[in-house]
Assembly symmetry: C2
Homo-oligomer: 258 residues x 2
């Protein structure tokens, strides 16, 4: 119980936040208790779940800096079974402030471990910024497993090997039990060959770690955040929402056999 | 002469690298002497111009760390009038190594200033990573002006105010003459309302700082990097290339009246 997943990829704009929000919502929709931690100074996951910037005085920076106990930073979202810890631009300060501290990589892990005793959640998802800095390090150290959204584009594929090296490094020096949960193909556009090529390449090189479910490019998915709700609520029948619901089911199946 | 531009936006995947490569190519095509500096540890601009990862022993990390003199790190690209300084993942080290140094924000600026005496280039473009860390700080401190690619999506618009605050902060503490060159709307998809809304919003709030030229979403643009050449060479007739050529012309016009 209470397995922790980092949603990470240093390549920008690959669908980390969109996957974190919609996978969390899909899992909550089938009754699992989910906590989403927004660890990106941009605070997109917090906005995508409708929490105003003015309403984020207790946030993931307060948790990582040790100012606040994690259970005091958790709040309910509009979605049943889905709680969130929001993010603000204060997180930018964490990169500088933590750099000299010995335990800089373990700040989040310590806080999440203190939650473990309460066993409130089935899964905890952490949305990471597009960088391999101290924030992503904290997420990878606190995680049992890494979920990697991979946009079906050439530059995104190029960055994958660097991400895998970083996961190995974190495994060696910070978190020996860190695993790769899987690669999720996102923004697949059936109208162009490039998506097909990237998907084939990924499956050829990474085999079964690539989820069967592919998330299509679907404008309804990118419209949802401006309404402060996940795509699954904004338009549950669109191709993007159906895909995220299938991803949640596949995710649960993989977990139960793991 | 020798004006320096940082191509920056902490939001990931908004078209920084694609704009840096294709604007640089468009400017070089009309005879201007251009230097492109890849300051992203992902090294996408270097890959997009066809330079293998194995051929990057002298790079922007060697420049920023002071190991190499900037003029020894410059090399010719396949494009006439376009030179490049490549990037490797070594740049990730710069974030940690420079943090304690007083002059951490001025490393690139000092090196570029030493180039000024030779007056070899009309424009220098710096491709930034998706973060507001030391690398982007170095680019903003070395720059005369900032070019901001803005993807026509909701999350991208949300990040703009944070970027403007950062530019102001850099202006106050590091580089008083830093200006905003302009905002370039990218990946505009005429098939959906969201693009239209974001473009209208941006023009309403930012007025004339938004370039007239809008870059459309065009799959040929995203195919070009896998061939190691700019879209302008890969398919000069596609809508993306035509738009980048128009952007280069508008850029030159704006410069000559400035
Ligand atoms: N399946 C999809 N179809 C269409 N648009 C999508 C899809 N997934 C994500 N998007 C849009 O693409 C953009 C990038 O996605 P998102 O912000 O989730 O990526 P990210 O990896 O979290 O970015 P960053 O690196 O900045 O954190 C967003 O504007 C989002 O709305
Ligand atoms: N006009 C366009 N039409 C279609 N695809 C595009 C366009 N511009 C960029 N892309 C593609 O979108 C993706 C993101 O673009 P790019 O990598 O240039 O953004 P970036 O801001 O540099 O990303 P990062 O934040 O990771 O540095 C790339 O796969 C690129 O090929
Ligand atoms: Mg994100
Ligand atoms: Mg880039």
């Amino acid at each position: 119980k209470q397995k922790v997943f980092a949603v990470a990829n240093q390549k920008g704009g690959v669908g980390k936040t969109t996957t974190a929000i919609n996978l969390a919502t899909g899992l909550a929709a089938v009754g699992l208790k989910i906590l989403l931690i927004d660890l990106d100074p941009q605070g997109n996951a917090s906005t995508g779940l409708g929490i105003e910037k003015s309403d984020r005085s207790i946030n993931s920076y307060s948790v990582i800096s040790g100012e606040t106990n994690i259970s005091d930073a958790i709040r309910k979202s509009k979605i049943p079974n889905l709680d969130i810890i929001v993010a603000t631009v204060d997180l930018l300060g964490a990169e500088i402030e933590l750099i000299d501290q010995d335990q800089r990589g373990y700040k989040l892990d310590k806080q999440i471990k203190s939650l473990k005793k309460q066993l409130k959640y089935d899964f905890i998802l952490i949305d990471c910024p597009p960088a391999l800095g101290i924030l992503t390090l904290n997420a990878l150290t606190a995680a049992d497993s890494v979920l990697v959204p991979l946009q079906c584009e050439f530059f995104a594929l190029e960055g994958l090997s660097q991400l895998m090296k970083t996961v190995e490094m974190v495994k060696l020096s910070f978190n020996p039990s860190l695993k790769l949960e899987g690669i999720i193909l996102t923004m697949f556009d059936k109208r162009n060959n490039l998506s097909e090529q990237v998907a084939d390449d990924a499956r050829k090189n990474l085999g079964a770690t690539v989820f069967d479910t592919v998330i299509p490019r679907n404008v309804r998915v990118s419209e949802a955040p401006s309404h402060g709700i996940p795509a699954l609520l904004y338009d549950h029948k669109c191709s993007g929402s159906v895909a995220y619901m299938n991803l949640a089911k596949e995710f649960i199946e993989r977990e139960s056999v793991a």
